[in-house]
Structure formats: C-alpha cells, structure tokens
Symmetry: C2
Subunit: 255 residues, 2 copies
C-alpha cells in the first residue's frame, strides 16, 4: 500500500543507477516500461534529492556503497512494520509525558501515531514537526538547528542547546544500527551528537529498530546498548540479537 506507480518507478531507477554506477536513459526507460521523457523527469527529481548526477545520455550514482537511500524512498519501505512499531511506542507513553522524538522515518510514524495524544513533544526533524502542527492537545516544541536537506533532521549547536535546555521523561530514538556488541549507531556524525544530547536529557530511552537494524552497524557510535531501556523491533528480529540485548539489560519488545 501507499506504493503508487511513480514512487515505485523512482525506487527502481534509484536501485538500477546504484547497482550499475552509471546507466543510460534508454536502458532505464526499457527497464521501467516508461517513456524516456518520464525517465528524464524522474532523474531530475532524484538529482534534486542528491541521489544521482545527470550527464548527457544518462545518470551516475552519487550514493556511495553503504550510504542511505533518500528519505522519501525510505519512508515507504516496510511502512507496515514501522506503523506497528510506532503504535507500540505510542502505547508505552503516558499522557502528559514530555518526549524528545528523533529524526528518521520510523520516528516520523511515531509522530503520526501520537498526534492525537496529550503530550509535550520536541521532534528532531521538520518532517515530524509538520506532522504535529495542528495537533490540538499536544504541546509542540521545536528545537533550533540546521535542517539537513531531504532528511530535514535538525542538527548543530542550536539543536544541542535546545535539547540540553530541557529535561524529558522519554527519548524515542531511531538508529541505523543497534546491537549488543556495538551499541546504538548512526550514519551521520551530527545526528549522533544530537542523539547523545537527547539521551543525556531524558530519564527513559526507547529505541525503535526494525529487524534489519539489529544486524547492522553504522559509522557513528552514539551510546552502548545498555543505555537503552526499551527496544521496540519487529517480530522477525533475529533471536540471538534480541537475547544479547536482553542480556545487556535492555527490555526488548517484538511487535
């Protein structure tokens, strides 16, 4: 669901470009079944997102191996699992709590899940901010900072200062990797700094991590796994990883 023809085509083009390194417009048109004009328009969009670079006749990938695909594509991937996880997190929050909510696609779903609740929320991404403006019962706090293009995650000294100036009941953190061995890791260094600030300002740490994240480790180490109080993950999470997390003192919830 929520997989329209156009977003599916964008995803396939992104993958094809990334696999091939560089690829021609005609090939992409044949691959997707769309006209060359449509492919060109798609490439223009993806170039605007920084996914690839145009050249006459085709495009070459800008995503290095191991880098994340752009936000708009990740937001659609495994969205049902993300919604389930988000609903579980919403259930863990009590009315009236103050929450700092991390950036990322899963946390965006959390934002949507708590939009009707009576909470105080500081989201660390403008996507989540926009999802929560207009929520009548909810007190929305915007942190300062520089929004990273596409991701719209707020980072930098202003963000750190905003988070550090407050004390939250709960931090809901996304991650790029989470396991007992390497702890909670992120791709972006600035993001990692902000996450650390969120941990330092919060009494309880909830991490959201789809099953795939448990076997992955990213560049920036945010905190050891033992800093996390609760992990919400999918049913398909590998048992050895969840056992190791449990052994590290983390409460694991599969949904």
């Amino acid at each position: 669901m929520a997989t329209t023809a156009s977003t599916d085509r964008l995803r396939r083009i992104t993958e094809a470009v990334r696999e091939a390194g560089s690829i021609g417009v005609a090939e992409l048109a044949a691959l997707t079944g769309a006209s060359e004009m449509t492919v060109r328009r798609d490439l223009e969009v993806l170039a605007g997102q920084g996914v690839l670079e145009r050249y006459r006749g085709g495009a070459r990938s800008l995503l290095l191996r191991g880098e994340e695909p752009p936000f708009t594509l990740r937001a659609q991937e495994g969205i049902v699992a993300k919604r389930r996880i988000a609903a579980e997190v919403a259930g863990l929050l009590a009315d009236g709590e103050s929450v700092v909510l991390d950036s990322g696609t899963t946390c965006l779903e959390v934002a949507r899940a708590v939009a009707g609740r009576r909470l105080t929320v500081m989201p660390l991404s403008l996507h989540a901010v926009n999802a929560l403006t207009g929520a009548p019962q909810l007190t929305l706090l915007v942190p300062g900072g520089r929004p990273r293009p596409g991701e719209l995650a707020l980072t930098g000294p202003l963000t750190q200062a905003s988070v550090a100036a407050l004390r939250f009941d709960t931090a809901v953190l996304g991650c790029c990797g989470l396991n007992a061995a390497h702890g909670l890791t992120a791709y972006d260094l600035d993001d990692a700094t902000v996450k650390r600030a969120a941990i330092a300002s919060s009494r309880r740490i909830i991490a959201v991590a789809e099953a795939t994240k448990l076997t992955r480790t990213a560049l920036a180490v945010v905190a050891p796994a033992s800093s996390v109080d609760v992990v919400v993950t999918g049913e398909d999470a590998p048992e050895e990883e969840t056992d190791a997390l449990t052994a590290a003192g983390v409460s694991v919830r599969r949904v």
Copy 2:
C-alpha cells in the same frame, strides 16, 4: 487571483460571523449560496483555526474586536501588494547576508521571494521555514520555540535564545502597526519579545508594512520608530505618516 471559490466563501463566513456575533447555518448557506453541508464543513475548518465556536444550529465568533483574522485568510488579503513589497525587500539584501525573518504573511512572501538566493536565513515562523526547505543555495537556520497555532510563529525562551545566540546583518520585521508616534507595535506580547531580540541581534532593521499598518497601533510596543532603518510600504501609504517616519530618521520606500 489566488482567490478560489472556497477561500472566498470562508472569508465571507468569517466576516458574517464576526459582524453578527453569532449566526445560523441556514443564514450562512443563504448568504453564500452554498449548501448547508458545505457551510458545516467550512465552520469546522474555521473552528479548527480558532476563529469561531460551533453550537447546534450555528456558530459564534471568537474573534474579539481588534483581534486579527486567522493566518490563512490574511495570507490572501492584498497579496499583490505584499509580493511587491517582498520583491523590494529582496532587492535590498545582498548575496551572502545573514537575515532573521519575522513571522507574518508579508514576511512569508519575503521568504518566497528570496528562496532562490544565496543567503543565510533564520525565519521566525514555520510557514517560512517550510517555504525555504529545499532551497539549494540558501542556508536555513531554524530557531527553537513553541509554534503558535495557525500562525506558526515561534516564540518563547527557546526562540529568544536562538536569536540571541547569533548576529545577523539584517532583520526583516513585520508588524501590526508602525508610525512615528507609537513606534513598531504588535498584537502578541510573545511576538513582541522575539522581535525585540531580533532587533538586538541585527545591524540593520528593515520593516515591512502595508499602507494600512501606518495608521494603526497595536497592543505591544516593540521598539520606537527610530530603531528602524528602512520601511518598505505601499504606494498608497499616507504621506503625513511617511513624512513623520522620515523625520524620525527612517528611510521610507514606497513600492
């Protein structure tokens, strides 16, 4: 232009409710020529904006005398004049400048006018933030704060701290009233505080004020007119007011 049938109807309903204090659904349907169902849906929207309160059979106004109409309506009023003023302000800014950009509908147009420019901008409203996300050349700084419903103007200690932590070349300020006698005035006290912080952090102060603002004075005094370096206003600005401003040392530009 940009006056669709539905926004026009919302405006007329808002005015009718405000004039009558309270009014029935049937009357509004007759007045607008729309069905009662449509009127009900409109009233729901306006109730969500805090313009009015529903009761069975009709609605009563929540706008006290002298208060502002909601953002969505003000954004449409005199939009051509606002665009002209915004273009003039954009012309006053040099590439590379750092700018703090106030909240309000005119400043939102300024945001749109500078979207393609190479500037560093901190907008004081989420409307302007959203207008500027994705602008490639522009460095966007988001201040912290609590967004006021509808207006989405950021206020509070987080906002003040964000503004105070930086020094800007130029502040572009909106206002509710501006004249030589009472200075720059605003409806909202929190807004006024943020505006003062912006003035304190900026070398040059540009005020945008449609002609009607020059003969108006609002509750909160932000600063004397002499603090303002440049006022950009409409051609139809009353000459006695502009003369007085000029006498106070303000450079007045009519466009």
